[in-house]
């Protein structure tokens, strides 16, 4: 389809020394503005797939086109492409000793002049984008606070603000709610969904908690040992399919809906 922002075909990736593929995906297309959850047990390949979509995975084979660019399995993508794909890390990946403002400004490094930025100065447009992102995640009263003095939920908001400051066309979020309590997790999911909708960005969230993410996405893709075993709407997945993905732990996983 013309408006696909992600198109994978005959994708195969194996960790060195491992015969079993970590990813084996015949085809996967994700349209512009779509909100999708990648679900699956630990080791299913969710994080590996997100790294590939972010251009940080090397050594795979097959075809991978993201934002109209065919990715090279041996080379990192160029800077202007990287700033178009935002990534929210599971463990936040913030610079702990820096303030909220500086961490969010770091999301603008792909836009900032490569040499001028080394003086520590950012353009007015970078500051404006960072301030908007901080406001959007509700952290404006903590702008000058150091990140190591924030709670887990607040740190995740800062990590999302850094991603939003990038003004990405695709937002990839790797287990963004795994270390948060249910109420904070819902708030973070709502924030990701609303931010993606406001900006017209495509959202891909990986999660172990299908019951929580179901209300915030319009598509589930389930992975098992690197293969897609379900692709459909969150409403279409049933207990039997969930138990195929998570085993006994799936009991009443979809019982709690948002």
């Amino acid at each position: 389809m013309a408006d696909d922002v992600i198109a994978l075909r005959e994708l195969d990736f194996r960790h060195p020394g491992n015969d079993r593929p970590t990813l084996a995906i015949p085809e996967l297309r994700i349209g512009a503005g779509q909100r999708m959850a990648l679900i699956g047990a630990s080791g299913a390949g969710k994080s590996t797939l997100l790294r590939l979509l972010d251009g940080r995975l090397r050594g795979w084979s097959g075809g991978s086109t993201v934002l109209g660019r065919s990715l090279d399995p041996d080379r990192p993508p160029p800077r202007h492409w990287r700033r178009g794909v935002g990534f929210v890390f599971q463990e936040f990946a913030l610079v702990e000793r820096e303030t909220v403002r500086q961490n969010v400004l770091n999301g603008r490094l792909g836009h900032a002049d490569a040499l001028w930025s080394l003086t520590g100065r950012f353009a007015a447009s970078d500051h404006a984008a960072a301030e908007r992102a901080i406001r959007d995640v509700g952290m404006d009263e903590f702008t000058e606070r150091r990140v190591d003095r924030l709670s887990g939920g607040q740190r995740q908001r800062v990590a999302i603000a850094r991603c939003l400051a990038q003004e990405p066309r695709i937002i990839l979020a790797d287990e963004p709610i795994s270390s948060l309590d249910p109420a904070t997790a819902r708030a973070v999911l709502e924030l990701l969904r609303d931010s993606a909708v406001d900006r017209g960005a495509t959202l891909v969230i990986s999660s172990h908690q299908p019951q929580l993410v179901a209300g915030y996405v319009d598509r589930f893709v389930a992975l098992d040992r690197g293969r897609i075993i379900f692709d459909g709407s969150p409403e279409a997945i049933d207990e039997r399919q969930l138990s195929g993905i998570y085993g006994e732990a799936s009991q009443s996983m979809m019982g709690e809906t948002v």
Binding site: D54, G55, R56, P76, R79, H80, R82, R83, V85, G86, F87, F89, E91, A93, L94, V95, E96, R97, E98, Q102, N106, G107, R108, L109, G110, H111, A112, A114, S117, L118, G120, A159, R162, C163, Q166
Partner: protein, 272 residues
Amino acid sequence: MTTAQGKSASREDVLRQRDRERQRGWGQFLLSVVIVLVIVWAWNGSEIELYRLAESGGRIAEFLGRMIPPDLSVLPVVIESSAETLRIAILGTIGCVVLSIVLGVLAATNLSPSWVHVPVKAVLAVIRGIPLILVAMLMVGAVGLGPLPGILAIAFHATGMLAKFYAEAIESVDPAPMEALESAGATFLQKLLFGAWPQIAPDILRDTLFRFEMNLRESLILGVVGAGGIGFYIQMYVRAFQYEKVATLALVVIAFVVLIELGNSAIRGMLR
């Protein structure tokens, strides 16, 4: 059957444990013997005669008495030579910081391949093993008397320790924020400046200030071998038995070191 096997296994365990305890007992006994032999060797070889220590009380009191009142007429000379010592410590520290940045990066296991960091770490260990006074004597021989050999000696000697500290700071960097910046489109230099530097800056500055303090104290004795600074006057006045001048010198040195330490503590407090 199972019970019999279990009993036999547990008896073997008890015997093995007893063997281990016996071996440990022998090991501790041998270690104790070695320690005693080393102490006896050190004592006998040093010709220590305790009666001399007992008899020295009067002489020490006499020295201290001759230091009072301090002779303040040498104050201008002492202040000027202290300033020279400070200049040696400052320039020596700058020299070792420059060398340590380069060698610290080369010695860091997360930045340099093993064929680089292993030999660089070995070279740094060798540098740390060479006494400062020996380096200073070699530098005096190479470039002549004055502050320059002192600066070179401090820069060389301190690099052994500071580069090791820098390498350890670099090795402690959490790679996750750098990966996040790379994902956002940062260049390599932007990753270093915005991802790595904020993580290591407090450690690097703390280590540098600590090394500066050490360099200052070590610079005090460099004059003894002709490498500039206040050490020259310490040696001269002590040899001439001018203890009232030595007293002035000691007071200035103490004030000087305390002031620098207070300044450093204040800066370290701000780095937290």
